[in-house]
């Protein structure tokens, strides 16, 4: 393959990765924006989504499509329930203190990993793609499922945007983000908003996990990479800035795709981190963040 098609392939891979990354990072950014906390276990919610997708696929049997569709709906719901339980049992009790939350979610990370390791095992398990077809370009064939992943992620992103900008729940979320006390005084059920936002952020990560599992295998340690990439994205995009998060996800996802295809995935991650360093030197609040 010459350079042109190679670059096209890299762009395609990068775009698919960017959309999935945007979904995961959006969850993290939303939780930070509204609740001012960082969830270190965010990647584990992604991993739970992937593992549940495998589990539903193996339990339901028959056509992989049915199992996949069930997983796509039930997976995030189960993960959302875990998140609500976390909020109720832990976060609420430490009053969403930023540093205690970090420590508690590190603890949660270990607990989730260990539970998955015990019940699911330490091996990576593959999930069959629910739909199999190839899109043939003049130079190479491309997995049609990856395009479906990209499309589904885009739909979920648009759905999230509608939720935030057009619904009452979204109004509550934005009000809480702007001024928690004032929102409470005006009758916004802030505690419930917190629980729902935390669950919603986790569900976005879980949905991303369900979507990628046919491309990438499910493994109990798979959560760290999306977590770190999401961190890179939210730092560049500005913590809590949703528009910045999406833009940064595309910058990181596509450049990651290109560097991975031409050089190596490890180098891509190292370079992305150095890019963050550069951004922070110029603008400590992130590229799209507010100036301090």
């Amino acid at each position: 393959m010459s350079l042109g098609p190679h670059l096209f392939l890299a762009l395609l891979e990068g775009t698919v990765a960017a959309l999935v990354l945007a979904l995961t990072a959006l969850g993290l950014s939303l939780v930070f924006g509204v609740m001012r906390i960082v969830n270190i276990a965010h990647g584990e919610f992604f991993m739970l989504g992937a593992v549940l997708a495998w589990w539903f696929g193996s339990v339901i049997g028959g056509s992989p499509l049915v199992g996949f569709l069930v997983a796509l709906i039930a997976g995030p719901l189960i993960v959302g329930a875990v998140a609500i339980a976390t909020d109720y049992l832990i976060l609420r009790r430490i009053d969403y203190d930023p540093e205690s939350t970090i420590v508690a979610t590190i603890g949660l990370l270990y607990i989730i990993q260990q539970v998955v390791l015990t019940f699911y095992g330490g091996d990576a398990k593959a999930v069959e793609a629910p739909i199999y077809f190839r899109v043939s370009f003049p130079w190479f064939g491309y997995s049609g499922y990856k395009l479906i992943v990209a499309g589904a992620s885009a739909l979920l992103l648009i759905g999230t945007w509608i939720l935030i900008s057009r619904t009452q729940m979204g109004l509550y979320m934005r009000a809480t983000q702007q001024d928690e006390e004032m929102a409470q005084a005006l009758g916004v059920p802030v505690r419930r908003v917190y629980a729902l936002v935390f669950a919603f952020g986790a569900m976005l990560a879980a949905a991303a996990g369900v979507l990628v599992v046919p491309i990438q295998q499910a493994h109990y340690l798979m959560g760290l990479e999306p977590l770190l990439l999401s961190f890179i994205v939210v730092i560049i995009g500005g913590l809590g800035n949703l528009r910045g998060t999406i833009v940064a996800a595309f910058v990181i996802g596509i450049s990651d795709g290109i560097i991975s295809v031409f050089f190596s995935p490890t180098l891509a991650k190292i370079l992305a981190t150095l890019l963050v360093a550069l951004v922070l030197v110029v603008r400590p609040g992130g590229l799209f963040g507010e100036e301090e």
Partner: protein, 320 residues
């Protein structure tokens, strides 16, 4: 807390060092090795606590400083046949330089951003060790005991395979670090660091360059962590990329929180407690990770000040 070190404080802390010195003659061989290991890890925790407990900066990237000590010492032994002293110095120096360069970038951020930046850089360091695998052999790790020459002093040779050499080298590092930490906490710099922890804006308003002080704190913390890493490589003779993984960033946080952050004895006690807790639980069940997880969650819910923090609050208010 007073500016002057009281006799009580000095006696208690030096007493711990003396206790550890005497303990080597009574401990069984199994615990003997464990305590040597705990002292090296406690040095790591003490370094970490300078940043978290006394400056209020939460880092999730200290594995890179520990690993730079390990690799600085280990690789020079492996490739250039450095002696123990030179290798140790290289390890300490490399973590000092890393701490300085990293600090210049990372201290610009604060709060959550600082945490995320430390986490990401540590991961980049971890990936770099794997990426330059031909040099670091990070994948499979290196055992350096074949290459490392015994340490020589006044004509006597001290091989590192000898348990009592291990123990006393670890004790020496731990004792020196412990004294450095006491001196730092009581020094004017230490007082400013605590002021930054309590209220950074006010400290800045009083005319202190908080950026500079935080940088100093980070460099000291990184250097002590690196010293622990370098000693670990020399004593236990294994170097590998695991030591740069996120686990080794979480361990010092865990040890410090269990023992009580912002206390001097806390990190030491926390290291010992967690070491034996994991040791005992991994004998009972295979899932010792869950112990770490449950302890972390339990600490923030019911025991946020840790062992020594609670003791200081309730009984011994004179503890530093």
């Amino acid at each position: 807390m007073n500016r002057r070190i009281s006799g009580k404080v000095l006696a208690l802390h030096l007493g711990i060092i003396v206790l550890l010195l005497v303990a080597q003659f009574v401990l069984s061989p199994y615990h003997h090795t464990n305590v040597a290991r705990i002292m090296v890890f406690a040095t790591f925790a003490l370094g970490y606590n300078i940043l978290l407990g006394y400056t209020g900066l939460l880092s999730l990237g200290h594995a890179m400083f520990f690993a730079s000590g390990i690799y600085g010492a280990g690789l020079t032994v492996f490739y250039f046949q450095f002696g123990a002293i030179e290798a140790f110095a290289t390890g300490v120096l490399s973590s000092l330089v890393l701490g300085l360069v990293f600090g210049l970038i990372a201290i610009r951020t604060s709060g959550v951003s600082f945490l995320i930046v430390t986490l990401m850089f540590a991961q980049a360091a971890f990936l770099s060790i794997l990426y330059f695998n031909e040099i670091t052999l990070g994948d499979q790790g290196i055992v350096i005991s074949q290459v490392l020459q015994p340490f020589e002093l006044w004509g006597t040779e001290y091989p590192f395979s000898d348990p009592s050499v291990k123990y006393n080298a670890a004790l020496l590092l731990f004792g020196v670090t412990f004294i450095i930490c006491i001196a730092l906490v009581y020094s004017p710099v230490g007082r400013v660091l605590v002021a930054i922890r309590e209220n950074e804006a006010r400290t800045r308003m009083l005319g202190y360059n908080t950026y500079k002080y935080k940088l100093v704190s980070l460099v000291i913390s990184a250097t002590l962590s690196g010293a622990a890493g370098a000693m670990y490589a020399l004593l236990f003779s294994y170097i590998g990329s695991t030591f740069a993984s996120i686990q080794y960033s979480i361990f010092p946080l865990l040890w410090t929180l269990v023992g009580g952050m912002g206390t001097l004895i806390g990190p030491v006690l926390g290291t010992g407690l967690m070491f034996y807790l994991v040791d005992i639980s991994s004998g009972l069940t295979e899932s010792h990770l869950i112990v770490v997880g449950v302890v972390l969650v339990g600490l923030v819910l019911w025991f946020p000040k840790g062992v020594m923090g609670t003791i200081r609050e309730k009984w011994l208010t004179w503890l530093p």
